[in-house]
């Protein structure tokens, strides 16, 4: 009789422990899934940024024939593009790292500012605006700007979900035990002037 009671209580305790471990494993796995999701979302941004970096020489090439007097604007665009490409590479090596994110954000908003200046210049050249190739390139640019914005949005949504989960009890215990670091959001702009997106209106 007493053996039975001891056996039953032992089994119950064992069962509870197993259930607890399984639960913790579930929480851990959930965190890993979310972490991978935001990492993947970041690689999406990377893909789209590369698309933009590839597109910009194209844009400059198309505009060059019409914009003989705006050489320094075009040079600035190319320079900003190279800078941003370098920062993106550094960040890709360490996604979620706050300093890399900051440098990258600054370079990116610099590029956006220069691009928007270029587009304002383009506005002043009607024959350039009417160019078919230019219409294509600027559609691609619009699309790329959108893609970057949507990729950032998806990244930020994923990071927010991860961070929220990480901080909520009881996941926070598992996160603390296994060292799940908080991830940073991408802030697209630092000042009001840079917030202006490149104007592409045809």
């Amino acid at each position: 009789m007493s053996i039975n009671v001891a056996l039953v209580s032992l089994l119950v305790v064992l069962g509870l422990i197993v259930a607890l471990v399984a639960w913790a494993v579930g929480l851990y796995n959930g965190l890993v899934v979310l972490k991978n999701r935001f990492k993947n979302a970041f690689s999406q941004i990377d893909v789209q940024l590369r698309r933009r970096y590839d597109l910009i020489p194209n844009l400059v090439e198309t505009a060059k024939g019409y914009l003989a007097h705006e050489r320094e604007t075009l040079t600035a665009v190319i320079e900003a593009r190279n800078q941003a490409a370098g920062a993106a590479k550094a960040l890709a090596a360490a996604p979620g790292d706050p300093t890399a994110v900051k440098a990258f954000s600054a370079a990116e908003s610099g590029l956006a500012g220069v691009l928007s200046r270029l587009m304002l210049v383009v506005e002043r050249y009607p024959e350039l605006k009417a160019d078919k190739q230019m219409a294509r390139v600027s559609e691609e640019l619009t699309s790329t700007e959108n893609r970057i914005a949507f990729a950032r949005q998806a990244y930020n949504d994923a990071v927010t979900e991860y961070n929220t989960k990480r901080e909520l009890f009881p996941t926070s215990i598992v996160a603390g035990m296994f060292n799940f670091a908080p991830a940073s959001l991408l802030e697209s702009t630092t000042s009001e002037a840079q917030r202006e997106a490149p104007q592409v209106k045809f």
Binding site: Q44, A135, R136, E139, S143, N146, R147, F150, Q153
Partner: protein, 635 residues
């Protein structure tokens, strides 16, 4: 508005509706069980040892249940199994978006492979870009993208029960009239349908409705058995009770029970279907709200979608072109904006706009109004042009009818008809025709169309009446006669095409393939037939204007088939065309041979050969016979 909260609310409301759908199924199954139980009780009373009028207690339904509990359980269990099985038979049905899009005649857009007509058309590039943007924003794989070139109204749809086989389609009107932001909102709405699995949900709900409808179909089936002639009626009613000499004094009570059961089952199924459809439409409306909210989440620009909705609303109010009149029943639940229907699958547009953007009136409205006016103008202009074209098309159709009249079956002499009913005689007649002789039993000369018709009748008689060995014998005989002179003329070609299909094929149904894959073969066949006209190139081009299912258009005129075996092989492969493509091909061929204003015997023989080889001869006859003056152009 907060898109996340709105989506959560829509999801909650959907999850409250789903138990109602399950309840409808459960209630229908229970009601069906009850009907069956009552029917069993009625039969028991009819045969039973008790009398309800004498002893209500011993003959009541509870007494029956007490006495035969197994029967009562079987009634309910049986009906539950029936309804569940009918539901499950469709529950896991999958549908590929691409297949649906092809079936409604949409054109697939691919990057870098735009049709020549779209070259320089930035809106298609834009559509592809917008779709890629949305696939990034929603985290979905890029679906296939389609355009409905024939739809001038603004609409869009998504299809595919599985995100990996999803497809997104917009109308040409949407590309023409929507700005980039609006198009983005609409595409995001469709992406949300894919992401939330709305097509699958709708399929499952449709399966539930089907399960319930099966009950009313059962009832209707029971009743329709009574509708036959007297013999059948007796068969049903007399099986249980003999010829009316039972205790009940005749089959009438059983007949009454039978009819009542059938009617009740039909009614139960109908009521259940009605409520299940109500639930389905309510779910569908919630999913629209959900998709609108998710669209706002993806684009973070609810104004785009709101303006697109405003445009469809204004355009609808102004009587502009509406979409999907032909098959709206099949796809209405998948569309972006609703079409008129009995039970609304979409919430009112005004409510959707209000939830997306609670403002009233703005600068954008001016642009909307201007666009709606332009749409109306375009519609007027098109109607005017259509009126002008109508007179022309009537005249053209009359010409075509006169030219193709010789394609119709000739009237045969009764004596010859009687002869070919006998398979052996039919074989002999066929050989005589192939040798160029006037067949036995035919008086006077025989014209080309009479020869053609008689030969086909002979082949039919052989197929229907002869043994397999006889069929093979006459087929071999015909081939021998045809090859005696070492060449095929058009009549021999037609006979051989018919013989191959009707006498020598193994009778298996061909496996259908998309029309596009057979375009090169079809083009060479058309070129071959057209080469018998006075203007081969013109005829070939004229037929190209009738082909749309075969893809982007006919290639430059290929070399006609020079070898009979090659042509017969090509005709064999065309059997795999879908039925609509076969009709198109024949219409195109007819156009090709009528292009020079007259149809020669060679041309008529060749078109008959093609029609017979692809199994559409009957259709061609019907089309030639029933060519109404105004619509022939559309045949």
């Amino acid at each position: 508005m907060d898109p996340f909260a709105l989506q959560q609310a829509a999801r909650t409301r959907t999850s409250r509706l789903l138990p109602l759908a399950a309840a409808a199924v459960f209630a229908t199954a229970a009601a069906t069980g009850l009907v069956l139980l009552l029917a069993c009780w009625g039969v028991w009373l009819f045969f039973g040892e008790t009398d309800l009028a004498r002893d209500a207690h011993a003959a009541g339904i509870s007494a029956f249940c007490g006495k035969y509990p197994a029967a009562a359980v079987a009634c309910f269990l049986g009906s539950a199994v029936f309804v569940v099985a009918a539901t499950l038979s469709k529950f896991f049905a999958m549908s590929s978006g691409d297949v649906l899009m092809e079936s409604i005649g949409a054109t697939r857009l691919r990057r870098g492979s735009a049709a020549p007509s779209c070259e320089g058309d930035i809106s298609r590039v834009q559509l592809l870009n917008v779709c890629e943007e949305m696939s990034i924003a929603s985290g979905l794989d890029m679906p296939s993208v389609w355009v409905l070139e024939n739809e001038g109204g603004v609409n869009a749809l998504a299809a595919g029960t599985d995100p990996s086989s999803a497809a997104v389609c917009v109308t040409r009107g949407a590309l023409e009239w929507l700005s980039r932001d609006e198009l983005q909102g609409v595409v995001a709405h469709e992406f949300s349908h894919i992401l939330n699995g709305d097509m699958r949900l709708n399929f499952r709900l449709t399966a539930l409705v089907c399960g319930i409808t099966a009950v009313s179909r059962l009832g209707a089936g029971m009743l329709s058995l009574l509708g036959g002639d007297d013999e059948e009626k007796h068969r049903i009613v007399n099986i249980p009770c003999g010829r009316g000499k039972g205790r009940g004094g005749g089959p009438l009570p059983l007949l009454v029970i039978y009819v009542l059961t059938g009617c009740s089952l039909w009614l139960v199924g109908m009521i259940g279907t009605f409520f299940a459809r109500l639930v389905q439409c309510a779910v569908s409306r919630e999913r629209e709200f959900l998709a609108d909210a998710a669209s706002a989440q993806f684009t973070r620009n609810p104004e785009g979608l709101a303006n697109a909705l405003r445009l469809t609303y204004l355009a609808g109010a102004a009587g502009c072109e509406r979409t999907f009149r032909v098959w709206q029943g099949d796809v209405s639940h998948m569309l972006f904006a609703s079409v008129d229907s009995m039970i609304e699958t979409h919430p009112p547009v005004k409510e959707r706009i209000r939830r997306l953007s609670p403002r009233n009136g703005s600068a954008a409205d001016e642009s909307l109004k201007a666009r709606v006016n332009a749409m109306r103008e375009l519609r007027r202009a098109r109607a005017k042009a259509a009126n002008e074209n109508f007179a022309k098309s009537v005249a053209r159709a009359k010409g075509l009818k006169a030219a193709t009249a010789s394609l119709a079956d000739a009237k045969l002499q009764p004596a010859a008809l009687a002869t070919v009913r006998n398979p052996a005689k039919a074989g002999e007649t066929l050989i005589a025709l192939l040798r160029g002789q006037v067949p036995e039993g035919w008086t006077g000369a025989i014209s080309a169309s009479e020869r053609r018709t008689l030969a086909l009748r002979c082949v039919n008689a052989l197929r229907d009446g002869a043994l397999a060995s006889q069929r093979r014998f006459w087929a071999a005989e015909a081939e021998r006669v045809v090859q005696e002179d070492g060449m095929y003329d058009s009549f021999e070609m037609m006979v051989m095409a018919s013989v191959r299909r009707r006498l020598l094929s193994d009778g298996r149904m061909p496996r259908m393939v998309p029309a596009r894959t057979l375009l090169p073969v079809a083009a060479r066949v058309i070129a071959t037939v057209a080469s018998f006209g006075r203007d081969p190139e013109g005829g070939y081009k004229a037929s190209g204007r009738k082909l749309s299912l075969f893809g982007p258009g006919l290639p430059p005129m290929p070399e006609p088939y020079g070898d009979a075996a090659e042509l017969l092989g090509a005709l064999d492969s065309l059997v795999c065309l879908p039925p609509l493509a076969k009709r198109e091909l024949l219409t195109g061929l007819k156009e090709a041979i009528a292009q020079d204003g007259e149809v020669t015997d060679d041309e008529a023989n060749y078109i008959a050969a093609v029609a017979d080889a692809i199994g559409a001869y009957g259709w061609m006859q019907a089309a030639v016979a029933a060519q109404p003056a105004g619509r022939a152009a559309a045949v």
